[in-house]
């Protein structure tokens, strides 16, 4: 069990879920679940472009995710509903990404790794990128915590007290792009949104304050990573999806245990 690559996988997963925990809470509170998924889909285009241009995948994904987030923010003032806009952008960038990949002849197999992640192939430099990005996101969210929270409760209350909710939203979008970029290797494009949302949603069932929900999400995420690695080792299943399955099972268990709270949550 204590093979070197398993230890690296564990630390890679922990880095991602720790950064995803507070961020995932905001994604849930602000009803941005689809935003996370859309950013992740856009990342495929980032992967394709970075492979074509031989630059770091992390940089390419980060750039495209940010571009996508900024474009959505700009376009959302033009009269389209957010979900429509995200639908257009997410699937368009996914399609363009897949088409772009086909021009790069030798990466067809690699693409599967980016769609589903390959946490067991995480190397030392990947680990450095993941923990660098995760640390940055954690610092950003902790630094802006009060302001982010107030902006989430009410933009007007934020304005009245000298907090600019648009700036806070930008910080959130930026953090989201960073997490997507670092998490691609771990769970892949298709399951990143799951690591953002499921631990946070599960933690909501047992939390009375925003802080406890964020900590709970981190704990649930960390447990899911450990359980997912253990499960995939013993069951010989793909690791990224097994981690997400573990989180989903935790969510289901908590929903049953925390019934009175879950009634309020479902409302």
């Amino acid at each position: 069990m204590l093979n070197d690559f398993m230890i690296r996988a564990l630390f890679a997963g922990l880095g991602v879920v720790l950064a995803a925990a507070p961020l995932g809470c905001f994604v849930v509170w602000r009803r941005m679940a689809f935003f996370g998924a859309a950013t992740a889909h856009a990342a495929v285009l980032g992967v394709a472009l970075s492979l074509a241009m031989s630059i770091s995948v992390f940089v390419g994904v980060l750039a495209i995710s940010l571009l996508m987030a900024i474009m959505v923010t700009l376009l959302s003032n033009r009269g389209y509903a957010m979900d429509t806009l995200l639908g257009v952008m997410a699937h368009a960038s996914l399609a363009f990404g897949l088409v772009a990949v086909s021009f790069v002849t030798d990466v067809r197999i690699d693409l599967m790794a980016y769609l589903f992640g390959d946490i067991l192939a995480v190397g030392r430099s990947d680990l450095a990128i993941i923990w660098g990005g995760a640390g940055l996101v954690l610092l950003l969210t902790m630094w802006r915590w009060q302001a982010l929270l107030l902006s989430t409760v009410s933009e007007d209350l934020a304005y009245a007290q000298g907090v600019n909710p648009q700036r806070e939203a930008l910080i959130l979008t930026l953090s989201l792009a960073i997490v997507v970029a670092v998490a691609i290797k771990v769970v892949g494009v298709l399951l990143i949104a799951a690591l953002l949302i499921i631990p946070a949603a599960a933690a909501r069932l047992i939390s009375r304050t925003p802080e406890r929900m964020a900590l709970g999400a981190a704990a649930i995420g960390a447990f899911s990573v450990a359980a997912g690695l253990w499960g995939s080792w013993h069951l010989d299943t793909p690791t990224g999806p097994t981690i997400v399955c573990a989180a989903a099972i935790l969510f289901a268990l908590l929903s049953v245990i925390a019934r009175p709270l879950s009634a309020r949550f479902a409302r």
């Binding site: 009803r31 009410s154 009245a160 925003p210 309020r264």
Partner: protein, 267 residues
Amino acid sequence: MAMSANIMNASQQPLLRAQGLNIEIAGRHVLEQIDLDLMRGEIVTIVGPNGSGKSTLLRALIGAIQPTSGQVRQASGLRIGYVPQRLHIDPTLPLTVRRFFNLPGRHSRQAIDDALARAGIEGRGETPMTGLSGGQFQRALMARALLDNPDVLMLDEASQGLDQTGTADFYRQIEEVRNTVGCAVLMVSHDLHVVMRAADRVICLNHHICCQGLPEAVSAAPEYRALFGSVDEEALALFRHDPHHHPHGGHEHHGAEFHQTEHDDAQ
């Protein structure tokens, strides 16, 4: 208007000043040529029919809406306690009353308990915000706005959802606050009887400032009567405002009425 207000309070700088404020939203002129000074210690009430731009004016004053032209100036370091018309807290966000009061600045346990007691919702600190009744919620919003010792208290139809005792308490609290804290109060209200009793100055708004001044002067002004009828009439009848028979409901004639404001100020 701004000039006459200055002469009246020559020794004082206004806490808040709007100059030539114009706001267009989606091609509609919501606010036109608003000049407004708010001085320390005065209670100013804005009255006007539905859709006349009352909430927009408050939101422009806190900086939530950028004016199309004109400007809003806040005294430096101005603390605003803002009580919005509505506040929806997403049920996925676990937020106790105490946690809500600690946004964005932290307060001592004692200070929050005292504020809750003053607001008539003693011992509700650990209740989730979503578990409060409409009236309790409104009281909590008000208590939170007062917690920071604001220079300006802004209330957007904040007595909504309060029962009769609640409303009476509410306005008593406003006068008390003005007398003890010494802040300015700017409120939007539909409750004309209370307005006439509690306000130092009434602003009658219908996209532009129709008239303003002492409550007695405004209620006698033809512009006000055109909007609300005579104050002596049954209170409910005052709200039956028919825009088609409104002599200055359009945006074209505001220049003529505008002089009325100077006249009223001088009284």
